[in-house]
């Protein structure tokens, strides 16, 4: 892609009138000869006349090209450097359609990358996405959205999506917009017919899953803090079963009991060792439980190791980019594209990313000019 350092130079494009004028004038300068009969001229003329006209048109086109090239040179063309220039594609989950922070993201990303709704229709972000998003295979995504780097902006559908991003893309990242007072449906759960909404978010230290369920006019809200690598679906599934049995459960897990102490405020505490896939209630440290041990800790019978293993599948959640809606400022610097221009150093960045293409254009111009001169002299008969 070419950028220009001196846009004003395009005003010189009016110079294209010059060859057009020459073309028209050269037509006028033909003198007139009255002949008794054009019979023999017609017999010999047909092809030559056409060739003269075509020749003139080609000459005109060549001259126009020369003028335009000269204008381009004046406009200081800059060609993007071929190195370190991966193409970036940002796919946004349609679930974020009404998200207030989306506009900020789009504004920031628009100049850097293609940004589209992550749906099979390849819908531009300027239009509403299609109503439903099918889970498609890897081939589909790779053919549909070829890019060096794909960034997925999605709340919770990461499980399904990450596996579908073509492997050839250099880095795939999943970012999430700041949490709103809003829930996002997990497709799997919806399929099971549960009238439940599940919200998930992750941090360096934990993943948090909370769900809302409206049942008989009463909203139950529960939070689960789990290790980032733990299958969310598994935990949620287990929790849902507990809810079905009208037992309240708050399921939390942390890597470090010390952090759990800070974050944990719920009624019940249960410790989950993701590495061993063992629910170890007995290992809950005293430090943590001092404050909460007197509260009820209820664990359903269904939530056991075997059940958890049954729903295990690879989950890869990336870091949460933003802390809150108010403070949200999309910083796409962390994306694989390293050269994201900073408004303050935009000019510098431009210089780094682009190189002057003037020299190449000069050579082409010289070549075209030589051809034009040679042609004109050869075909000149006046």
């Amino acid at each position: 892609m070419i950028q220009f350092g001196n846009i004003l130079a395009f005003a010189a494009a009016t110079g294209v009138l010059l060859p057009i004028l020459i073309h028209l004038l050269s037509k006028k300068t033909r003198y007139s000869v009255e002949m008794g009969s054009l019979r023999f001229l017609k017999e010999t003329e047909t092809k030559t006349l056409q060739s003269i006209q075509i020749n003139d048109l080609w000459k005109l086109a060549l001259r126009l090209l020369i003028v335009l090239l000269a204008v381009l040179i004046l406009a200081e063309p800059l060609v993007k450097k071929t190195s370190n220039t991966p193409t970036l594609l940002i796919l946004v989950d349609p679930a974020y359609q009404q998200h207030a922070a989306l506009d900020k993201l789009v504004d920031t990303a628009n100049n850097l990358a293609q940004i589209k709704w992550m749906d099979p229709q390849k819908t531009p972000i300027t239009e509403p996405p299609v109503a439903s998003m099918a889970v498609l295979d890897e081939d589909f995504w790779s053919q549909r959205f070829p890019a060096d780097c794909v960034v997925v902006v999605s709340p919770v559908l990461t499980t399904q999506i990450t596996g579908k991003i073509p492997e050839k893309t250099s880095i795939n990242r999943i970012i999430r917009l700041p949490n709103e007072d809003k829930t996002y449906s997990l497709m799997d759960l919806s399929k099971e017919g549960k009238a439940i909404s599940v919200q998930a978010e992750t941090s360096d230290y934990f993943s948090k899953v909370n769900y809302l369920r409206s049942e008989t006019g009463r909203t139950i809200k529960k939070d689960y803090f789990i290790q980032p690598t733990v299958p969310i679906k598994e935990i949620v599934k287990a929790s849902l079963q507990a809810i079905d049995e009208s037992s309240l459960i708050s399921f939390t897990e942390v890597n470090d009991p010390a952090t759990a102490e800070i974050i944990f405020t719920n009624d019940s505490v249960y410790w989950y060792d993701s590495e061993k896939f063992v629910f170890r209630q007995d290992q809950i440290t005293t430090g943590i439980l001092e404050n909460v041990y007197d509260r009820k800790v209820i664990l359903t019978e269904d939530l056991n190791r075997e059940r958890a293993m049954e729903y295990t599948f690879p989950v890869r959640l990336e870091r949460q980019l933003v802390e809150s809606q108010a403070a949200y400022k999309p910083d796409l610097r962390i994306l694989p594209l390293e050269r994201i221009p900073d408004p303050s150093t935009e000019k510098e960045e431009k210089k780094l990313s682009y190189q002057e293409a003037k020299t190449h254009f000069w050579w082409v111009l010289l070549l075209l000019f030589t051809i034009e001169r040679f042609w004109s002299i050869k075909t000149s008969t006046v």
Binding site: F40, L49, I52
Partner: protein, 286 residues
């Protein structure tokens, strides 16, 4: 006929009077009056021949009889009046100019010179065309002829010139560029060429017209149809010349096969050579 008054061609430099110009050219060509080959009763003695039965007794030379005691018939050259009708192509194509002279002007000048020469040789001259003039003789007829010649103008399309019937042998002199839509001119000339009549076809073409000797891109306009063509003559000259020459060759061959005296006349040809052609041909007729 302003054209006639304005001209100053090489051959007519400074001459403004058409009649005078024609006379100068004709006299300058140093051709004398014709000699008739026909022998019969007349004023000028030719020969004696012995009387044979059936001869008119009035033609007996009695003086010869007195001298030789034999009957001789006195023979003289007979005055013959050949009718020469000139036909000029009046189509728009004759407007074509070279060296500031139109083909039409040159054609009329040629006809005038030839007509004058013919008259000097005792022939009767006439004009076929618009306006036409039956063959005639004498100074007054000559002036009428010139008047008609000067009144001649271009006509849009080919219309067969009116030929006044004559009982005598006639010589037709056709001056044309032979540009035709189909074969109208060739047919017309062919029709003139009967067993009794003779035809001289003077095919008038310009030097540049024959060779397309023009430089630089030009717009060529057809004088008859108005069609215009942009062309570079230098590129086309060779092919053009080939086609033109083969056409001329075809016309020449076709007319010679019919016994028509075809001559390609150039603007730059000397008038004397054209008069020569004319006189040679008429000699054969007499």
């Amino acid at each position: 006929m302003a054209e006639l008054l304005e001209i100053s061609p090489d051959i007519l430099a400074g001459i403004h009077d058409f009649d005078w110009a024609v006379r100068s050219l004709a006299h300058g060509s140093s051709y004398g009056r014709r000699q008739s080959r026909k022998i019969g009763a007349g004023m000028e003695f030719s020969q004696y021949r012995p009387y044979s039965q059936g001869d008119d007794l009035r033609q007996l030379d009695w003086k010869m009889y007195a001298r030789s005691d034999k009957f001789y018939i006195k023979q003289s050259e007979v005055e013959t009046h050949l009718g020469v009708t000139f036909v000029i192509d009046q189509s728009f194509s004759m407007k074509y100019q070279e060296q500031n002279h139109s083909k039409f002007f040159i054609a009329r000048l040629l006809v005038a010179v030839l007509a004058f020469t013919a008259m000097q040789n005792g022939d009767r001259i006439g004009l076929a065309g618009f306006p036409g003039l039956p063959v005639g003789y004498g100074d007054r007829h000559w002036l009428r002829f010139l008047n008609h010649l000067q009144k001649m103008d271009y006509r849009n399309k080919f219309s067969e010139p009116v030929i006044y019937n004559s009982r005598e042998r006639e010589l037709f002199v056709v001056v044309s560029d032979m540009y035709e839509e189909s074969t109208e001119w060739r047919q017309f000339v062919k029709n003139l060429n009967t067993g009794r009549n003779e035809v001289i076809l003077l095919h008038l073409l310009g030097q540049k017209e024959r060779t397309l000797d023009f430089t630089g891109p030009a717009t060529f306009a057809d004088l008859e149809t108005g069609v215009k063509i942009d062309a570079d003559p230098e590129k086309l000259a060779e092919t053009y010349k080939e086609k033109m020459n083969s056409w001329i060759e075809m016309l020449s061959h076709e007319h010679r096969m019919l016994g028509i005296d075809y001559h390609l006349i150039d603007f730059t040809d000397k008038v004397s050579s054209i008069i020569n052609i004319f006189l040679n041909r008429r000699k054969q007729l007499l």
